[in-house]
């Protein structure tokens, strides 16, 4: 009798168990399916294409690692990869620095916070299709900054990075930082606003100066934000396309070429789809090599709350 009761009563509990356990997975499922197909599926497809002699449009008969070989012999590809390392490093570093500093300064109960925040953010809003032109003018020695300073009488001033094959890459960094640092600022501002104030109070009492509080307490608490920011910035760096197209188009020569540009040019403009796919796979491999250890160290069972 009691047994029977127990068993009938048990059912809803069991059902609930499964629901509570399954629901989170169910919610995650669509995104995962999409990711599996549209990220990993397509990646596999690209991997396959990189092993074919596809030129104009995809072809499906295999030809081995021929495309990779070509890629490795290609001087432009080497330049592009080197540029990415240089550009990516500088860009991510500078953006984090500028973004964090701006966020911290903006967090000091600033009067015109709203206006300033929008000013730092606006570069994101304006498409590089056009601002690229403005930047080109500004950086162009005979039109922009250099001319301006010369007009003021300082004729010894020289700023011709844009047209110098060795320095043009830095102008890319400048423009990219200009465009993206505002968003990093916003991310950090959001993070700062989520921090429990009593912790900061405690640190103040411990005698820490404000910079120190940020450095030792607040910023470490914002580790997840750093993580997001690094992700976003590497994404921007790796995929920088509009920016380069607009500002230097890879020039002078191909001194500011980047892998994304290289890939697009070969896969679509030049009809060397196999080579383009190979370069894409190399890019992904590079990302993987840098990212996986980082992801691993960040995600390994760490939880604050």
């Amino acid at each position: 009798m009691i047994l029977a009761q127990t068993q009938t009563a048990r059912r809803p509990v069991r059902l609930g168990l499964t629901l509570e356990h399954v629901l989170p997975k169910l919610v995650l499922a669509p995104s995962l399916v999409l990711a599996l197909v549209c990220i990993y599926g397509y990646m596999a497809w690209t991997g396959y294409i990189s092993l074919t002699p596809s030129s104009f449009l995809p072809m499906y008969e295999l030809s081995g690692f021929e495309q990779y070989q070509r890629l490795l012999e290609n001087d432009r590809w080497r330049v592009a990869c080197f540029n990415l390392a240089l550009f990516g490093g500088l860009f991510i570093g500078a953006c984090l620095l500028v973004g964090v500093l701006l966020a911290i300064l903006l967090d000091q109960r600033i009067r015109a916070e709203g206006a300033l925040r929008t000013i730092y953010l606006y570069p994101m809003a304006i498409s590089f299709i056009v601002t690229g032109t403005a930047w080109k003018w500004i950086l162009n020695p005979s039109l922009g900054l250099e001319k301006l300073v010369h007009d003021f009488g300082f004729t010894s001033f020289e700023f011709s990075w844009l047209t110098d094959p060795d320095k043009a890459i830095y102008t890319l960094v400048m423009a990219a930082v200009w465009q993206s640092s505002g968003f990093v600022m916003a991310m950090f501002l959001a993070g700062l606003r989520g921090i429990d104030s009593s912790i900061i109070k405690a640190a103040q009492l411990d005698g820490a100066s404000l910079p120190r509080i940020y450095w030792r307490i607040v910023l470490p608490c914002l580790r997840p934000v750093f993580f997001s920011a690094v992700m976003v910035l590497s994404h921007i760096a790796i995929k920088s396309f509009d920016l380069v197209t607009a500002l230097t188009a890879g020039g002078p020569g191909y001194s500011t070429d980047l892998p994304a540009l290289f890939m697009y040019a070969h896969a679509f403009t030049r009809g060397q789809m196999g080579l383009g796919a190979a370069s894409a796979m190399m890019m992904l491999a590079g990302v993987l090599a840098i990212l996986v250890p980082y992801l691993y160290s960040e995600l390994r069972g760490k939880r604050h709350a």
Partner: protein, 377 residues
Amino acid sequence: MTSLSICNVGKQYQKGATTLENINLEIRSGEFLILVGPSGCGKSTLMNMIAGLESVSSGQILLNQQDITHAAPSQRDIAMVFQSYALYPNMNVYDNIAFGLQIRKWPKDEIDAEVQRVAKLLQIDHLLKRKPAQLSGGQQQRVAMGRALARRPKVYLFDEPLSNLDAKLRVEMRTEVKKLHQRLGTTIVYVTHDQIEAMTLADRIAVMKDGVIQQLGTPQEIYQQPNNLFVASFIGSPAMNFIPVTVQHTAQGRFVELKDQSGTCLQLALPAGLAVKTDQQLVLGLRPEAFSEVQPHKLSQAQVQQGEFLVEMTEPTGPDTLTLLRINGAEVTARVAPQANPQAGAKLPLMLDASQALFFDPVSGERLRALAQPAAA
């Protein structure tokens, strides 16, 4: 070494609602001051203002005669244990404790020694590697305590530092705090809800209510001569019994009557010099320990008498059994030894020691003082 003056300090969180009103406190150098008061009366707010973590709406705070009302917290050299712990979530226990020392650029080995010492003291030395999220409530509280103890500030502020500890640990910690105070002689302001803590640690106790200080005095003063009904009711656990009485008059003098439901009636002579009139309504304050099992040797003392009372309910607490009576219609708690074996519904012979009886004005709540006869109260 360090005196702390709080002059006319007020605080309003929102316009219109006053949280603290005109607080005046002179905390002497090396003094151990305990703040008590009902939840929400503004204790933490006051502590925060002393520490410089909350802005002061009006008034001044002086540290060693220097105005620090608007000084930055880091300039005040004050350590505080927060009611909400406020541990650094990103650091492990060791770093939480060491942080303040690192800031002060102590040598590494000294920091290490100090952290170890404090951790041992607080019995958290096996937890040094853990993050706050991996600690139990009491462990977190001890880390918060350790953070303050590892420094040598001018003033310590403790906001209910022991509330999450078990009784045993609490006694140990209490002793540690006391020793600390004796050794260093640092000025300490301490918030607690624990009766014993307040009584045993404090040099002086400040009782607050609704943002106003009701009484400031030594533990004994506060306990034995509370200014008013509020203080009397607030200090002491179980709380003081308040019995409505009416002043009566006979040839022997003025007295009040205590009537039990069962018919027992005791007469209590009023202390001489108490400015009351016949037929005046008073509130008689008697602590639970004033009612106890009969101890024959005491019966001969003045103000001690006995009677049988009807027991309404009993609450054994271990060392004592709290016994609920009803006198003059008011609930009265008596502290009786378990051996007396009080039983609800039965009558129990009890002894009343009225030597510590207090009288209050029922309207103003003020304690009535015996004129020119300080011993009367």
